[in-house]
Symmetry: C2
Subunit: 137 residues, 2 copies
DNA sequence: TTAAAATAAGATTGCAATAGTCCTATTTGT
DNA sequence: ACAAATAGGACTATTGCAATCTTATTTTAA
């Protein structure tokens, strides 16, 4: 429990890889080999990143992906949002009402919301640039 | 993904409930009804809390549970540790080696470890007392 | 204009973790 | 002795994640 999904993990690895690379363009094939990730699965993940503009896709032969923005502008929070729908350390923050039988007088909703915000801040303030920096060390 | 388990959620609700209550002793039956949680499941969860000393059990008729420590001494981190084994926002931090095929030159291990620490701090520094305070408001 | 190499995307499967249930044993106060 | 509570093992159901398979589309270069 409380684990980032593989989609998020792979997305981070991929974007970090792209940020570190000299050449702007990268293919899924290249990354799946270098990072030891299933091609198909990584491919899906890249498509999600593309839809949210975190990367830009170039179709056709000689195609691939390039970063959609500067590494310091892409946060882990961006990645999570792009790749996952379900976010929230407790159910309430996704489904809203009627999801647990104690919605009206829920006693943990408020404090959990505070914790959620703090965690969000961490992800919001961590960028691909920082990750690439660590990796290079 | 990235959600606290029901066990953790229920444990928090239960401890918060106990902290707010005037009388020290509480039964699982009472809590399961008031909090709208399956008796059996909550029962299991309380047993886990008991094993780690977060609550103290009183067996036999007229039995129940009392808090094992002052509410300000019980953190969410304590609860998570009592009730879950698997913690860690990425796999590496549980299984250690050989779990992902890029252990040796893993480029996200270090930065993820930093994020993990920050999150741990949040849970470590949030206590049942605070939660009870919010609930009462 | 055709072949090759890349992304796009839908459908499906396998699997493991979570959540929940059921049943029996044990404890203890009245 | 009985009732009401916890203790705990075994089992089941469900869900969500990860992965795979297949087909379509795009684009460049020969």
């Amino acid at each position: 429990m409380f684990r980032l999904s593989k989609k998020v993990e792979y997305a981070i690895l991929a974007l970090q890889y792209m940020a570190e690379k000299d050449e702007a363009k990268t293919s899924v094939k290249e990354m799946s080999e270098k990072l030891n990730i299933s091609f198909d699965f990584l491919s899906k993940t890249m498509q999600l990143l593309n839809k949210k503009g975190l990367v830009e896709s170039l179709q056709g032969i000689r195609g691939g992906y390039i970063l959609g923005d500067k590494p310091e502008k892409i946060s882990i929070a961006d990645i999570i949002r792009a790749v996952e729908q379900r976010i929230g350390i407790v159910q309430c923050f996704k489904d809203g009402k009627d999801s647990c039988g104690r919605v009206e007088d829920c006693t943990i909703r408020t404090p959990m919301g505070h914790i959620q915000k703090k965690i969000d801040n961490i992800f919001e303030s961590t960028t691909i640039k920082e990750l690439a920096g660590f990796a290079r060390k």
